[in-house]
């Protein structure tokens, strides 16, 4: 695999292949222009058709559409359910109505203190969804950036970044959560989201790095490099879309994992406090 020390411009490539030995200024400009716009235009057109293709394929898949509906419904309930349901999570009902199994007036029943369990569930759900989505966003972004740089540049950068990942793996999230939740005053759900992001991004980083290590050797990356495309552009426009599959999978797993981790921390008394759990 030939490594280009200095990225050749289009002009150099043409000169090397011998197709065009003397370029007039006009032709030279034209090549510059095609470099600047041609690739871009081609890419966006392709992206649009690809997007519509994905959408069409998605809506043909029955299970996927049903899942989408359920997901949207749950997110909707999580964020607006508390406003729609006529009892508030903080409302305490009289003793006659407390600690009862589900019945007509309280579909989820009431607890010992007389809170309506459905209202509590809706409140907790909102926090869980909030935390999970924020964690997925943060840790995926961080993991993708670190993993992409590490896998694309290799060498010493890769080594340093991967040792950083190892270091994060070596520190248990529980210890981090215990210390931070005591030291940051008024630690709300966002503090928990940050703690969870800090511990989960390493998984994404490793996976993205692995993808980049193999993708960077592919022909289309070589072609892009031959055209003189900048590193940043190759990483984000050429390689990243190809690694999207596994990134999306890990991101969805992070959403699920973050909710579980959040409940586990609450169980240990480190997470969000009632009534937000």
């Amino acid at each position: 695999m030939p490594e280009f020390k200095k990225r050749p411009t289009a002009k150099e490539v043409l000169a090397r292949t011998g197709t065009d030995k003397s370029l007039t200024p006009l032709e030279d400009n034209r090549i510059e222009a095609s470099e600047a716009f041609g690739v871009e235009r081609e890419f966006t057109v392709a992206a649009r058709s690809q997007a519509s293709m994905i959408v069409r394929r998605f809506f043909r898949h029955k299970l996927a559409v049903i899942s989408l509906f359920i997901f949207v419904f749950l997110v909707f309930v999580a964020f607006f359910g508390g406003r729609i349901w006529h009892y508030r999570y903080s409302q305490i009902f009289p003793t006659a109505e407390s600690n009862r199994a589900p019945y007509g007036k309280h579909p989820f029943g009431t607890d010992e203190a007389g809170y309506d369990v459905l209202a509590q569930t809706l409140r907790g759900m909102q926090k869980s969804v909030q935390i999970a989505l924020v964690v997925a966003l943060f840790s995926t972004t961080m993991g993708v950036v670190v993993g992409a740089i590490s896998g694309y540049l290799r060498g010493i950068t890769d080594n340093v970044l991967m040792r950083l990942v190892d270091l994060v793996l070596m520190i248990p999230g529980i210890a981090l959560a215990a210390t931070l939740s005591r030291n940051v005053q008024g630690g709300d759900w966002w503090l928990l989201a940050i703690i969870l992001s800090l511990t989960t991004w390493t998984g994404t980083a490793r996976i993205v790095r692995g993808e980049f290590l193999s993708l960077r050797e592919k022909e289309f990356v070589e072609a892009a490099r031959a055209l003189g495309t900048k590193d940043r552009r190759i990483i984000f426009r050429h390689i990243l879309p190809n690694a999207m599959g596994s990134i999306i999978v890990t991101a969805t797993l992070i959403v699920a994992g973050a909710m579980l981790a959040e409940t586990a921390l609450s169980y240990l008394g480190l997470g969000v406090k009632p009534p937000d759990t």
């Binding site: 210890a175 215990a178 210390t179 005591r182 586990a264 169980y267 008394g269």
Partner: protein, 387 residues
């Protein structure tokens, strides 16, 4: 290979050093180590004594230097109660290992096995069933599953074991289950119905014979309180040999082991299924097939090894982390392993030296298992060269 291991170990030393600084900062700032003494009678004296003992009047860097000097000599200091830390931690490690080893073994064997079968027979009934179960277990928080297991499965089972017997319906269900297993074992979609029927009938017969045997064996026996819900062993039991204690250990181990195993089983089976599917569709597997190598050989000799890599990483990381304690499982089943040490030293009360010892052991085990994972890569996939 040796050079690789040597170099990784060499890098591991500064890594552990840096990790120890970070972890020390966490442990030192986790809270007030004197908190449990405040408000007690004579608290001034006790607080002064503990301050003296934990060097709390010194700054954090000074305390770190003292800690490192001790740790290099193998002395992890004393906990806030004045007891030596080292014997406590080594006890806890043994206990945690006892809990974790079998759980990991069980979940790896089951997870990898189920993953491979459901990949080879993709979209079969078995595949859908195992996917459903994996997601069910994956979606359950650990503490929820553990409490369910303790409150329902264990207590019901104990009540049943007091006077065990099988009803006719139960026997029929078990027989049918064996028949169903026979049906799945017979093969996937391309297998003739006759073969499936024969296997199913065979399973049915085996199931009934099995039930007959078990119920005649169990008849008239009684095992009151067989499964222990809390603790790791009966306190006064001290047989001269390990095997004398083994029976006692097993009673305590069942529930936490099942809890840990079931949840990692879910993860491993999904990983294994995905990577097996990917390997099965790769070029070299197709080449092997086209050369006329038998189906079984292609799966086990060619695809299986490579497909183990992602699971191997996951297992190594999990194992390394779990030595640091399965906090929630230990808490629910009242085990005094690493998890409960960590919980007692950083969440319930603050005990910097103890927390530090647990955390550094965890860090070291994670580093070691990371290296083991890398070595496993090279062994499993000859295309990977460690260098």
């Amino acid at each position: 290979m040796l050079a690789f291991i040597f170099r990784r170990l060499l890098i591991a030393i500064p890594m552990i050093f840096i990790a120890s600084i970070l972890v020390f900062l966490l442990a030192a700032n986790a809270g007030d180590p004197l908190e449990d003494l405040r408000g007690r009678p004579n608290s001034q004296v006790a607080m002064a004594a503990r301050k003296q003992q934990l060097n709390l009047d010194k700054t954090v860097p000074e305390r770190y230097v003292i800690w490192v000097k001790g740790a290099i000599r193998g002395d992890f200091g004393k906990d806030s109660g004045g007891r030596e830390i080292l014997p406590q931690v080594s006890n806890a490690i043994l206990l945690t290992l006892r809990l974790v080893l079998i759980a990991v073994l069980l979940s790896v064997v089951l997870g990898v096995g189920v993953g491979v079968i459901s990949a080879v027979r993709q979209y079969s009934g078995f595949d859908y069933f195992s996917t459903f179960m994996a997601f069910l277990f994956f979606a359950m928080p650990v503490f929820w599953f553990a409490i369910l297991l303790r409150e329902f499965a264990a207590i019901e089972l104990n009540n049943w074991l007091r006077k065990p017997s099988f009803s006719a319906v139960f026997s029929v269900v078990i027989g049918l289950l064996f028949g169903l297993v026979g049906w799945f074992v017979a093969g996937g979609e391309n297998v003739k119905l006759k073969r499936k029927a024969i296997f199913a009938a065979g399973g049915l017969v085996v199931g009934f014979v099995f039930m007959l045997g078990v119920s005649s064996w169990v008849d008239g026996k009684s095992y009151p309180k067989f499964l222990k819900i809390a603790g790791s062993s009966t306190t006064n039991i001290k047989g001269p040999f390990f095997f004398d204690r083994l029976g006692d250990y097993v009673k305590y181990m069942v529930l936490p082991t099942v809890t840990l195993a079931v949840i990692s089983f879910a993860v491993y089976s999904r990983f294994q299924r995905a990577s097996m599917l990917e390997t099965l569709s790769s070029d070299y597997v197709r080449t092997a097939r086209s050369k006329g190598i038998s189906h079984r050989r292609v799966i086990f000799r060619h695809a299986f090894r490579t497909a183990l890599i992602p699971v191997a990483t996951q297992i190594a990381l999990d194992f390394g982390a779990v030595i640091g304690g399965a906090i929630i499982t230990e808490n629910i089943f009242a085990w005094k392993g690493m998890g409960s040490l960590l919980r007692n030293s950083i969440i319930k009360d603050i005990d910097p030296n103890m927390a530090m010892a647990v955390l550094i052991v965890t860090a070291i085990s994670i580093v070691i298992f990371n290296i083991i994972a890398d070595i496993a890569y090279a062994y499993l996939d000859p295309r990977i060269r460690v260098a």
